[in-house]
Symmetry: C2
Subunit: 209 residues, 2 copies
């Protein structure tokens, strides 16, 4: 995975980290004891290969099959409506689908606007992360916003750790910060073996979007 | 990825391989020329990390969002109905969902039965691979059947290469044979960074099934 640079440590930060990980351990121990191994998990998908966002949307389908409610925040908006958005909007009682911002300008244009956009998206994410009725939260391409430091990593980690005990979260995107991987229960590095783009094949509806 | 052993080469096999790859190249060139980069792609997901099957089901959601019809064959049947099966069976006009066999006995019990089961599943897959009305075919855990040599790899590769030009196929599972990766347009090795199972958390509905 492409990891963001680790910021230098300071004592307050180290203490927040310790507290967050202690909370994670206590919650997991408690949940396992009470519910035969059932627990809300934090999953992270990263790497340069295809499959990060699509695996999150596959878990949405699974969750819906089990009668759960799902919340999705997409941190990068594409130019066109995606297949996942068109499909999951069929189920407004079961899925909240939030496509936030207007796409990032990366480092080239207006960083202040990108930060404001990412913060609006995170506010929406926090609404979902405070709602125990939502069984699965997908934070699609959040890693990109963290990689570019559009969001405060410590706040993001605290908000994730403070979610309802049985709520699952999937975070996708290249460049997952090491501290997010550490907080995660499950993490997959999706490595590129080959991609159709290299043969001149365009992004395909149904496959890439 | 855990690769199956490469069988020793013989001239007939080498010629079939050459013909298959030539057909792939001709089809891709033709499709790109005619349709501005649009082409049916073969995707393979492999590796030990979480995300192989779920990424395929995310592509099903995307494809349905674009109005495509989808066919799914699951080569390993679990003991319980999965979330993906319960969910996608809501759309019988759009999704054919085939759960084949009774689960493999691995090497421990009845190999002949496993082979018969895999062959029935492949027959069903071939029906989908001959139908140009199906835009996306998911062959979930096919790699396992190939790894255990329950199916003839050369026949599988020939049938995949002979599918309708605009049809997409996703093949999932550990142990993808190198010749399948070679035929693929896009391949991702999903590497395990960490898994909740290691913390004592059980497989979660909505996440693993």
């Amino acid at each position: 995975m492409t990891a963001a640079a680790t910021p230098s440590e300071d004592p307050a930060r180290a203490e927040r980290h310790r507290a967050r990980m202690a909370r994670k351990k206590a919650l997991i121990d408690d949940r396992i004891a009470q519910a035969q191994g059932q627990a809300g998990v934090l999953l992270v998908t990263c790497g340069n290969g295809k499959g990060k966002s699509s695996s999150a949307f596959g878990m949405v389908a699974r969750a819906l099959g089990h009668g759960m409610k799902v919340g999705i925040v997409q941190f990068i908006k594409g130019a066109i409506a995606t297949g996942e958005e068109q499909f999951f909007r069929r189920f407004p009682d079961e899925v909240q689908f939030h496509v936030m911002g207007e796409g990032y300008t990366w480092n080239t244009q207006d960083r202040a606007r990108d930060i404001a956009s990412a913060e609006r998206a995170w506010d929406k994410a926090c609404e979902l992360l405070r709602d125990p009725a939502i069984g699965l939260v997908v934070l699609d391409e959040l890693n990109i916003a963290l990689k570019y430091q559009y969001l405060d990593l410590e706040k993001v980690l605290d908000d994730l750790a403070a979610r309802p005990p049985m709520q699952h979260v999937v975070v996708t995107g290249r460049g997952a910060p090491p501290a997010l991987i550490e907080l995660a229960d499950t993490a997959t590095d999706m490595q590129l073996l080959k991609h159709a783009f290299a043969s001149g094949i365009a992004a395909q509806p149904g496959i890439e979007w």
